[in-house]
Amino acid sequence: MSARAAWRLESLGFTEVYCYAAGKLDWFAFGLPMAGKFAEIPKAGDIVRQDVPTCKLTDRLGEVYERCQAFGWKVCVVVNELNVVLGRLRGEAWKADPQTPIEEVMENGPSTFRPDVFLKTLVKRMLNKKVGSVIITNSDGVLIGILYRKDAEERLSRDRIVNELV
C-alpha cells in the first residue's frame, strides 16, 4: 500500500518520494516512539529493566555467577558482540561446574518479546505459560532488558486505580 501511495504521489508531481515499506510495525517493534490513542496504553518497553546483567558465550559460569550475585540478579542474558540475545542463564544452570563455558549451560534461544507489546497481553501470556519474566529485544534481536510479571501486574493495577479515579 505504501508503495502504491508513493507512486501516486509521483504521478501528482512530487519529485522526491520515499517508501518505508516495513512501516509502523517495524518502527514500534524497534521501540521507537508512538503517537495516537494506543500511545497511552502501557507496553512492555515502559517497565523493562535495562540493567539486567549480560555475558558472552565464552565466559565461565563461576565468574558470571559472582558478577550477577553482586548485583542481586538470578538471571543473566547471553549476548554476542552486537548485544543480540543468544541465550539465558537461570535456575539449575547456575549449579554446573564454575569453570563451564556459558555456551554449554545456557538455555538456547529463549523466547523474546518486542517493546510495543501491550502489558495486558503479555501478562496474560506469561500467566498461561507460568513464567515470571521475559526478555525484551528490538526487532533486530538486540537486548533491551528483562520484564518481570510482578512489575507488569503492579503497573496494570496502578493504572486501574488511576483510571477509576478519573
Partner: protein
C-alpha cells in the same frame, strides 16, 4: 521512481525536514502512528488531499508493514 528506505533512513530524512504520510484509513492512524506523521488514506490520495503537503520537501509514505 520512489525509493525504498529503511528505519534509519526515515529518521535521517525526518531530521532533514521530510514529510511523513501514513496512508492507512484514518481509524488505524488514530490508534497508532509515527510521531509527526500526517494521514492521507490511499483511497483519498488525490490532487485535493495533497494540498497539505509541501512539494519542495521530500515525502515518505508508510502503512502497516509490507502489505
Amino acid at each position: 521512481m520512489p525509493k525504498d528506505i529503511i528505519r534509519n533512513d526515515v529518521q535521517r530524512l525526518m531530521a532533514n525536514g521530510a514529510q511523513l504520510v501514513e496512508v492507512l484509513p484514518s481509524d488505524e492512524y488514530e490508534e497508532a502512528h509515527l510521531p509527526e506523521a500526517i494521514n492521507i488514506p490511499l483511497k483519498k490520495l488525490d490532487g485535493q488531499s495533497i494540498q497539505i503537503l509541501n512539494r519542495a520537501c521530500p515525502v515518505i509514505t508508510y502503512c502497516h508493514d509490507f502489505q
